[in-house]
């Protein structure tokens, strides 16, 4: 497990991107063919967030065999926590100019900030919530589910129901999360204007670093002694239990860690795309994440990240150029990959020491 050529390639690519893309954006003049526009920069930043989300799903699905169809929910919760901080930063610059209440609350005729909005004007608190809220949900759900040995398809459908219930809940205006419209019109982050190119560059670099760190962490877990137990659970859960390992605990902590990764990815995603709304919870989003992982290669962390970037690049390309073909293409990718490429695109590479 020591040698990790694919991982090294990923890290090197990220390092090059984190250095080169800002230079090409900031220092190369816009007329030059080498110039990277801010649009492209933000787009790539978005892909990197997705890659991080794919890592989170691959960690539990590829290594532990838990197919979660609820990771879009953890992603969105992280995003909403970040969105709440950004909403509080708008202050008097909102349409209604209320110093404390965000626009949608004024619009709904609310007079006081709901209790769960307090503290979100402090960045460290908001960041703590980005980690804590998805972790808590994953902990409660996982504790209930793994303890009573809900596995396989049942677990997948339950996670899907969880995500669906959250979507319905966030669509309600009474919840205090902006209902249908969610949060948008963000102004600044830590005092830096989100519309400035330089802020976007910093966000991009931060995302690249976060992705590298996430990869290192996942890799560390997979290569550790615990990682071996986790793979044993994937291959034969009851046998691992008979050997005396506490299967539930391993699964639970891995699930919580994965949810936190997804939440952090969501928090990085929101300031870059500038909006978060309940449709992010939609069950189809969770399934799409699984597709990225399946396309890249289940059980290969690099493959998951690469799959996320490739599928999303294809999506951007097709929805722009041939919108009516995109769903056919996505559908075909799903079918072909599951039928003919059970190990994803990474399976096409010469067999490495990954995962197996």
């Amino acid at each position: 497990m020591r040698r990790d050529p694919a991982g090294a390639t990923l890290m090197a690519t990220l390092a090059v991107a984190a250095v080169l893309v800002p230079i090409l954006n900031q220092l190369v003049p816009a007329s030059s063919p080498l110039h990277v526009s801010t649009y492209v920069l933000t787009l790539v930043g978005k892909y990197l967030c997705y890659a991080m989300l794919a890592l989170a799903v691959d960690l539990i699905w590829g290594y532990c065999g838990i197919l979660s169809l609820g990771h879009a929910a953890f992603f969105s919760l992280g995003g909403y926590a970040m969105g709440m901080y950004l909403m509080r930063q708008i202050g008097r610059r909102g349409v209604y100019g209320d110093p404390i209440l965000p626009d949608f609350m004024v619009f709904l005729n609310w007079h006081r900030l709901p209790w769960f909005w307090h503290g979100f004007n402090y960045f460290p608190f908001a960041m703590a919530m980005v980690v804590f809220v998805p972790a808590l949900l994953a902990f409660v759900f996982g504790w209930l589910a793994f303890r009573s040995r809900v596995t396989g398809v049942y677990l997948s459908i339950m996670t899907q129901a969880l995500s669906y219930a959250l979507m319905l809940a966030f669509f309600r205006n009474d919840m205090g999360f902006g209902g249908n419209n969610g949060f948008t019109d963000f102004k600044d982050l830590l005092g830096f204007d989100l519309h400035e190119d330089s802020t976007r560059v910093v966000l991009f670099v931060a995302t690249a670093i976060a992705l590298a760190a996430a990869y290192a962490a996942c890799r560390g877990i997979a290569a550790s002694r615990a990682g071996r137990v986790i793979r044993a659970i994937r291959d034969s859960e009851s046998r691992t239990r008979f050997l005396g390992y506490r299967v539930e605990s391993y699964k639970l902590w891995l699930f919580v860690f994965s949810a936190v990764l997804a939440g952090v990815a969501g928090a990085l995603y929101v300031p870059q795309v500038g909006i978060i709304n309940p449709s992010e919870f939609a069950p189809i989003n969770s399934i799409e994440i699984v597709i990225w992982v399946a396309v890249g290669g289940r059980g290969t962390l690099v493959g998951a990240a690469a799959g996320a970037v490739l599928v999303n690049y294809a999506k951007t390309f097709f929805t722009g150029a041939l919108p009516e073909v995109w769903l056919y293409a996505l559908g075909a990718i799903f079918i072909l990959v599951t039928l003919f490429l059970p190990r994803g695109l990474m399976g096409l590479l010469p067999r490495s020491s990954e995962a197996r």
């Binding site: 009573s148 040995r149 899907q160 129901a161 399934i287 996505l330 079918i335 039928l339």
Partner: protein, 550 residues
């Protein structure tokens, strides 16, 4: 609407023919009528009210049509000749309107909106007009129209309405209309001065549990600002108080029955959308994410059948049901043969592949039918309500859904338990190797089972086409619910699906008054997630060897 006015016209024409014997006299009647109409051009609202009254008094055969048009904002003045004309109902966006002559009801050309000035109405005038309409309708030959007219009059009872109702009460033959008229007269009797008669009226009203009656009686118990009762007669107050509490009790019971029925009909929808899945997922263990899209295919089949037989919408449903079964069933067999059979024993991969299929199917209908929703008509025999007593109204489409679900369930159960195919399906699902050893062609059985489940999904789609919009997203909005029902009921158990779906529907409707529709649904989902933790295999878990292998 058109049939009803046509019938009304015929009656009026007959009346006119009898009353108006000489042409010369008819001429003058028509002339006065037209003159009155002309006055509408620049009358104030109170003048319009007076003119409307005169038009009614004149008993002119066209008065009703003109007043209906006025009420429907379709009476215009044409700028070219300053004549009052009726416009045919048209789109808000239509640039020009088809016109009708108010006297002959024949087409009178068309005009651009700019050339027409609408004769406007206000709330007060509209109210007067509605009462006037009711007056016309009260003499209609159709009892349904008379019933509507009386109901309309009950909303605002005054002396003129009282006179009309009394006049009609003697002549009325239809028992339901008669009942309504009596209710109106009893309500009017409350305003009298004879204490004994008022109390009698209150006692009669106590037996008519309706919100409207309750509200009227409750006004007898109100107090003034200075704390004294509005109603001076203590005996009347006492009677009213008993009557109100009696009505309240009756309304509570009716409300409960209604909730129960709503719950059962929602439950029936849930069972219907889940029962095909109970076969493919429950019996075969295939996670078919394209299940929703198979229902969508059924709904679109209904649409296509209706387009092909526009003259027989009522019968189209009976063609659509088998057609949808065949279309969705064939799609299912193709799906099984080309994709799913390679993925048996790998449920999570099946989930992904079938999800891909669902995306492709959605795009397919988008390409063929565009992304817009298609309008599927409801046959006449399925619309309307069944009125049970005073407070309980049951819409026919809900009732038919319950019946339809029961029939589908019974047929499916019979297929599984009584036919050779059913026996083979059960054998293969319990022990594939042993079934093969007994000479069952398990591959053929797989294809047939999947086709059966898919066909049932198509049939569910026919029902859904009557309940929601038929569009490319129809399947997606139901897929999670259908999985929930199957998992809740217990995989591999048709009875579990039935009971699971019905109880989910009931709980949902019971929660709705307290929590609202969306929160109620969220609560049901959360309760379900918790329930599965307690009983991971659902309400009715499979037992025996087959359960272990899953």
């Amino acid at each position: 609407m058109t049939r009803r006015t046509a019938r009304g016209q015929r009656l009026w024409l007959l009346l006119a023919a009898v009353l108006v014997s000489s042409t010369a006299f008819a001429q003058t009647v028509d002339e006065t009528f037209l003159a009155r109409l002309g006055e509408l051009r620049d009358a104030s609202f109170s003048d319009k009210e007076r003119i409307a009254g005169q038009l009614i008094e004149s008993r002119h055969p066209r008065a009703r049509d003109v007043l209906t048009s006025l009420l429907g904002d379709r009476l215009y003045v044409r700028a070219s000749d300053m004549r009052v004309v009726i416009a045919r109902p048209a789109d808000e966006t239509a640039a020009s309107l088809e016109l009708v002559d108010p006297l002959t009801l024949k087409a009178a050309g068309s005009a651009a909106r700019e050339e027409l000035t609408k004769i406007g109405t206000n709330n007060r005038l509209r109210k007067t007009l509605r009462v006037a309409m009711a007056r016309f309708d009260l003499a209609d030959a159709d009892s349904a129209i008379r019933l509507n007219a009386v109901t309309e009059m009950l909303r605002s009872l005054d002396d003129s309405a009282a006179a009309l109702l009394k006049e009609r009460a003697g002549a009325e033959t239809d028992s339901r209309v008669k009942g309504e008229i009596e209710l109106g007269l009893t309500l009017l009797a409350l305003d009298g001065s004879d204490s004994a008669r008022r109390i009698a009226a209150i006692e009669t009203l106590a037996g008519r549990p309706r919100q409207q009656v309750r509200n009227r009686l409750a006004t007898l118990l109100e107090k003034n600002a200075d704390g004294r009762f509005v109603e001076a007669d203590a005996a009347v107050r006492a009677a009213a108080s008993t009557a109100v509490s009696r009505i309240d009790r009756a309304l509570t019971v009716y409300g409960a029955v209604e909730t129960l029925f709503f719950g059962l009909s929602l439950g029936s929808v849930l069972v219907l959308i889940a029962i095909g899945l109970a076969i493919t997922f429950g019996v075969m263990g295939v996670i078919n994410m394209a299940h929703g899209e198979l229902m969508m295919l059924g709904a679109y089949t209904t649409y296509v059948v209706q387009v092909m037989m526009p003259a027989h919408i009522g019968a189209s449903i009976f063609v659509a049901i088998p057609a949808a079964f065949v279309v969705a069933g064939l799609a299912g067999v193709v799906l099984e043969r080309t994709i799913i059979r390679f993925l048996y024993g790998r449920p999570l991969e099946t989930l992904l592949a079938t999800f891909g299929v669902s995306l492709a199917l959605q795009q397919l209908v988008r390409s063929i039918f565009t992304a817009n929703n298609r309008a599927v008509e409801t046959p006449a025999w399925m619309s309307g309500t069944l009125q049970l007593g005073d407070a309980l109204a049951i819409t026919y489409n809900r009732l038919y859904i319950v019946i339809f679900t029961m029939i589908v369930f019974a047929i499916l159960l019979a297929v599984l338990k009584r036919t050779r195919l059913g026996l083979q399906i059960r054998a293969v699902s319990q022990n594939r190797a042993m079934a093969r050893a007994m000479g069952i062609r398990s591959e053929w059985v797989d294809a047939m089972t999947f086709g059966l489940g898919s066909g049932i999904a198509g049939v569910a789609g026919v029902a859904l086409s009557q309940l929601t919009n038929v569009g490319p997203n129809l399947g997606q909005s139901y897929i999670i619910d259908s999985f929930m029902v199957v998992v809740f009921g217990g995989v591999g158990n048709l009875w579990g699906t039935l009971i699971g779906g019905m109880s989910m529907g009931l709980v949902n409707k019971l929660l709705e008054p307290y929590a609202g529709a969306v929160l109620g649904k969220i609560l049901v989902l959360v309760a379900l997630i918790l329930f599965i933790q307690r009983r991971p295999r659902g309400l009715f878990p499979q037992t025996g060897r087959a359960a272990e292998s899953q």
